[in-house]
C-alpha cells in the first residue's frame, strides 16, 4: 500500500505543479473586482463620496461628474448583502469619507447572488474581498479557493492567451474612478422596446424571491447604522428606467421597497432621491430598459450632484 501511495503522489506531482502555475497565472488576470479593489486602496486617502449598488449604479453614476472625489464601487449583479459587506470593509479605510450613495432598484429587496442568474460572482467577492458567501455549502465550494476552478477551462485559456500576447484582459471598460463607460456604445432600439423590457422584467421576476425581503432589509439597516455611527451621510438613490420597464413593474413590490427606504430614512436621518420615472430622460439616454448609457449617465450624475449639494432635497 505504501508503494501505491508513493506512486500516486509521484503521478500527481506534475499535475499539481501545472495546477499551481495555472492558478498563479489566473490570479494575475484583472477583473472588475480586483481593479476596483486596487483603485479604492490607492485612492483611500482622497475619497469623500462612495457609491455602492448594482449594474444600474455601476453604469449610471459617473464619479468624475460629482463634486469632490467620488468613487463608484457598484458592480453588476451586486446585491444588498454584498453592498453591506463592502461598505463594512471599505468605509473604515476611507478617512475623508463624508457620504455614501446606496443605489436602490426595483429588485433590490428581493434578490440574492446565490439564487440569481450569476452565482459565480460570489466567489469573486470571496477571492478579491474576502467576503464569504451567505450559504455554508457555497463556502465549501472549490471556486472559493481556486481561480482555475472559478474561471473554468475556457476562461483560463482566454486569460492565458491574453497574458501570452501581453494584453491585459480587462472584462469591462472601467475608468480610474470605478465607472463603467465605453467610449462609443451603439444604441440598440430593441433593448428599450416593449419586447426587450419584457424580457428583462421576466428575467428579474424569475429571480425575485419575496422571502429574501427581511434579510435584505436587515443588510440595509446594518449599512445605515454603520454609517450613522461614523457620522457619514447616507443617501439612497434610484436611477431612471425607461417607461417600458417601469410600466411592467409589480406596483406592490415597488411600493413596498419605497416604504422600506422611507422608513430607513426617517430612522437613520438619511435621504432618498428617486429618479425612477424622471421626465428628464429620453430613449436616447438608455442602453437598455433599465440601464442608462454613458450619455444618460452623465446627464443623471449632473442632476444627482445638484441634488446632493442641497441637503434638504428628498424625493425630487
Amino acid at each position: 500500500m505504501i508503494r501505491l501511495v508513493r506512486r500516486l503522489l509521484l503521478f500527481c506531482l506534475p499535475l499539481l505543479l501545472v495546477w499551481a502555475a495555472l492558478e498563479y497565472r489566473a490570479r494575475q488576470v484583472p477583473n472588475s473586482y480586483s481593479i476596483k479593489r486596487r483603485q479604492v486602496e490607492s485612492l483611500a486617502n482622497d475619497i469623500d463620496t462612495l457609491i455602492i449598488g448594482s449594474s444600474s449604479g455601476y453604469y449610471g453614476i459617473v464619479p468624475k461628474r460629482l463634486s469632490g472625489v467620488a468613487y463608484n464601487l457598484a458592480d453588476a449583479g451586486e446585491t444588498l448583502y454584498y453592498n453591506d459587506a463592502l461598505a463594512a470593509k471599505v468605509v473604515p479605510m476611507l478617512p475623508k469619507l463624508k457620504r455614501v450613495v446606496v443605489q436602490i432598484q426595483y429588485i433590490s429587496l428581493y434578490m440574492s447572488v446565490e439564487d440569481g442568474p450569476e452565482p459565480w460572482r460570489m466567489y469573486y467577492y470571496q477571492q478579491e474581498w474576502a467576503i464569504p458567501p451567505v450559504r455554508l455549502k457555497d463556502r465549501l465550494d472549490a471556486r472559493v479557493f481556486s481561480r482555475v476552478a472559478l474561471n473554468g477551462p475556457a476562461g483560463i485559456g482566454k486569460s492565458l492567451a491574453g497574458l501570452i500576447h501581453s494584453q491585459p484582459y480587462v472584462p469591462d471598460p472601467i475608468d480610474d474612478r470605478g465607472w463603467w463607460g465605453p467610449a462609443n456604445e451603439e444604441i440598440d432600439p430593441a433593448a428599450i422596446g416593449p419586447a426587450g423590457a419584457k424580457a428583462t422584467l421576466d428575467r428579474h421576476h424569475q429571480y425575485m424571491i419575496p422571502a429574501l425581503e427581511a434579510r435584505n432589509i436587515a443588510y440595509l439597516e446594518h449599512t445605515a447604522s454603520l454609517l450613522r455611527d461614523r457620522r457619514i451621510e447616507l443617501v439612497f438613490v434610484t436611477l431612471p428606467v425607461w417607461r417600458t420597464y417601469s410600466d411592467g413593474m409589480n406596483k406592490d413590490s415597488w411600493a413596498r421597497t419605497q416604504t422600506v427606504v422611507d422608513e430607513l430614512c426617517k430612522k437613520y436621518n438619511a435621504r432618498y432621491l428617486s429618479y425612477l420615472t424622471s421626465p428628464n430622460f429620453g430613449a436616447e439616454d438608455f442602453k437598455d430598459a433599465d440601464h442608462l448609457n454613458p450619455q444618460g449617465a452623465v446627464k443623471f450624475t449632473e442632476l444627482l450632484d445638484a441634488a446632493l449639494a442641497h441637503p434638504g432635497t428628498n424625493r425630487p
Partner: protein, 480 residues
C-alpha cells in the same frame, strides 16, 4: 455535490484516506457516514426519507424471517413491495406535477424535495433485498449498519448500477481484504468514465438539445444526425457515470456490477437489452419477467409476449411518469416480442444459407442499432407530440418550413467542428477500450508497456477532460 465537481474530488480523497486508516466495523461506519454526507449535500430531507425507508425495510425483513405462516409472509411481502412501489409512484408523479403546475416547468427547491435524487435506484435495491429474503436466496441482514449502507452506498445512489443485495453484503464482509490493485483499477475506471462523460457526451449534448428543442427548424439530415448523436451521447454519458461509480466503489472495496457490454454491437434486440443497462434489465428479468413468465406459461407464446411487454413497459416507466418513456418501453416490447417469436425460425433459415449468414453478421447489429436510435428519439422527446414532430420531420419532403433536406448548419446545431471531431475520435477510442478491456491479450499488452507510456496516456486523458469540462452539465441518468 456532483461527481464532476472539484469539491467531490476533495471529498473522495479525504473519504478514501479515512476509509483506509479505519479497520473492521469502523470501515463500514466510515462508508455509511460518507454516503449520508454525500446524500445530504443534495437534499437533507431526502436523506431522512432514505433513512426512514431503510429502518422500515430492516424490520420487515426481520419479520419475514420470523413469520412461520407462508400466507402471512406472502401478505407482508406483497404489502411492503406495494408500499415501496407506491412511494416510487407517488414521489415521481408528485415531482412531475409540482414541476408542471407549481414552477412552470422549471425545477426548484420544492421539486427537489418532492422528487428525491436516486429514489428509483435505492427503492429497487431494497425491493430486491426483500424479495431475495422472502425467496430465501440470502439471509436477513441483521447488522443495521450493513443494511443502511446497501441503499445509500454513495457511488451508486445517484445513477446506479443496481447492485444485488447478496453480492453487496458478500463484498462488505471482505472489506478488510482490500487489494492495492483494486485502487489502481478503480482510479483508471474513474478517469475513463470522466473521459466518456466530459469529452464524448458533453461535446454533442448541445446539438442534441438544439434539435429536440425545435425539430421544426432543422433539416432531415440535421435531425438524423441529432438522433444518432443522442444515441452516442446517452451511451457515453450513462456508461461514463457507471464507470465512475464502479471506480469509486473499488476505492472502497466494493465492485459494482457492470451496466454495459458494447450494446451497439448487439446482433439482435434481445442481445441489446442483455448489454444495455444490464443491472436494471437483469433486476427486472429476475423479479418481474421470470415470475410473470412462470405464471403465464399456460398461455404459450401469448403469455411470453405479455410478460415481455409488461417488463419492457416497466423498463420505460422506471425512468419516470411520462408517455414518451411508456411508448419507448412498449416499442421495445414490440421489438423484443417479434424478435423472440421469430428467432428460432430466422436461425434455421440462415443456417441453410451460409452466405447470407455472413451478411447477417453485419446487418444484424446495424438494424438493431437503428431500431434503438429510433426508439431513443421517442425517449429523448419531452412529449409524444414533439416525438411525432421529430419523426415526421426526419422524412424528406415533410418539412413544412421549406428547409432543404441535406442542409447541415453547424451554427444552428450549436456545435463546432473541433468538438465534433473530438467527440467522434473519443467515441471510437472509448469503444476500442471497451472492447480491448474484455480481451485478455490486449489487457496484458497494456500492462506490459513501460510505466511512462501508460502515465503519458493518463495525462493526455486528464488534459482532454480538463480542457473539455463544462460547468453546468449533469449526468442524464441522475434525473431518474
Amino acid at each position: 455535490m456532483s461527481f464532476l465537481s472539484p469539491e467531490f474530488a476533495v471529498f473522495l480523497a479525504l473519504g478514501a484516506l479515512a476509509f483506509h486508516f479505519a479497520r473492521g466495523v469502523c470501515r463500514r461506519l466510515v462508508l455509511l457516514l460518507l454516503s449520508y454526507a454525500f446524500y445530504l449535500t443534495w437534499n437533507p430531507r431526502a436523506a431522512l426519507l432514505l433513512l426512514g425507508i431503510t429502518v422500515a425495510v430492516y424490520f420487515v425483513a426481520g419479520a419475514l424471517e420470523k413469520l412461520s405462516s407462508a400466507r402471512k409472509k406472502l401478505v407482508l411481502l406483497l404489502l411492503s413491495v406495494a408500499v415501496l412501489l407506491l412511494l416510487l409512484i407517488f414521489f415521481k408523479c408528485a415531482g412531475l406535477l409540482a414541476r408542471h403546475y407549481l414552477t412552470g416547468g422549471a425545477g426548484n427547491a420544492l421539486t427537489d424535495i418532492i422528487a428525491p435524487i436516486g429514489l428509483s435506484y435505492y427503492l429497487f435495491k431494497l425491493m430486491g433485498y426483500l424479495l431475495d429474503v422472502y425467496w430465501e436466496k440470502i439471509p436477513v441482514q441483521r447488522n443495521f449498519l450493513s443494511l443502511a449502507l446497501y441503499p445509500s452506498f454513495f457511488p451508486q445512489i445517484m445513477s446506479g448500477p443496481i447492485q444485488r443485495a447478496g453480492d453487496f453484503f458478500g463484498q462488505l464482509a471482505q472489506l478488510d481484504n482490500q487489494l492495492p490493485d483494486n485502487i489502481v483499477i478503480g482510479l483508471r475506471r474513474i478517469l475513463f468514465g470522466l473521459f466518456k462523460k466530459v469529452v464524448v457526451a458533453d461535446h454533442i449534448s448541445g446539438m442534441v438539445d438544439a434539435v429536440h428543442a425545435n425539430p421544426d427548424g432543422f433539416s432531415p439530415l440535421e435531425l438524423l444526425f441529432g438522433a444518432y448523436c443522442f444515441a452516442f451521447q446517452i451511451y457515453a454519458d450513462f456508461s461514463g457515470v457507471t464507470d465512475i461509480a464502479i471506480g469509486i466503489g473499488l476505492l472502497f472495496g466494493i465492485k459494482g456490477p457492470e451496466n454495459f457490454n458494447l450494446p451497439f454491437w448487439a446482433r439482435n434486440i434481445q442481445e441489446f437489452w442483455r448489454r444495455w443497462h444490464m443491472s436494471l434489465t437483469s433486476w427486472l428479468t429476475d423479479y418481474l419477467f421470470m415470475p410473470l413468465r412462470f405464471s403465464l406459461r399456460r398461455f404459450g407464446e401469448a403469455g411470453l409476449c405479455a410478460a415481455i411487454f409488461v417488463t419492457m413497459i416497466a423498463v420505460g416507466v422506471w425512468h419516470g411518469p411520462r408517455m414518451t418513456y411508456a411508448v419507448f418501453g412498449a416499442l421495445n416490447g414490440l421489438y423484443m416480442a417479434v424478435s423472440a417469436l421469430t428467432l428460432k425460425k430466422r436461425n434455421t433459415w440462415f443456417q441453410k444459407r451460409p452466405l447470407l449468414a455472413h451478411v447477417r453478421m453485419v446487418a444484424g447489429p446495424l438494424l438493431t442499432f437503428h431500431l434503438m436510435v429510433f426508439a431513443l428519439v421517442i425517449f429523448r422527446a419531452d412529449t409524444l407530440h414533439s416525438a411525432c414532430q421529430y419523426v415526421t420531420h426526419l422524412i424528406p419532403g415533410l418539412q413544412s418550413a421549406g428547409i432543404s433536406t441535406l442542409r447541415f448548419d453547424r451554427g444552428l446545431l450549436h456545435t463546432r467542428q473541433i468538438a465534433l471531431l473530438l467527440a467522434a475520435l473519443g467515441f471510437a477510442a472509448m469503444e476500442w477500450v471497451n472492447w480491448a478491456g474484455r480481451q485478455n491479450t490486449w489487457t496484458a499488452r497494456f500492462y506490459s508497456v513501460p510505466c511512462f507510456v501508460r502515465w503519458a496516456a493518463y495525462y493526455i486523458l486528464i488534459i482532454l477532460i480538463a480542457c473539455s469540462a463544462q460547468e453546468t452539465r449533469t449526468f442524464i441518468y441522475a434525473q431518474f
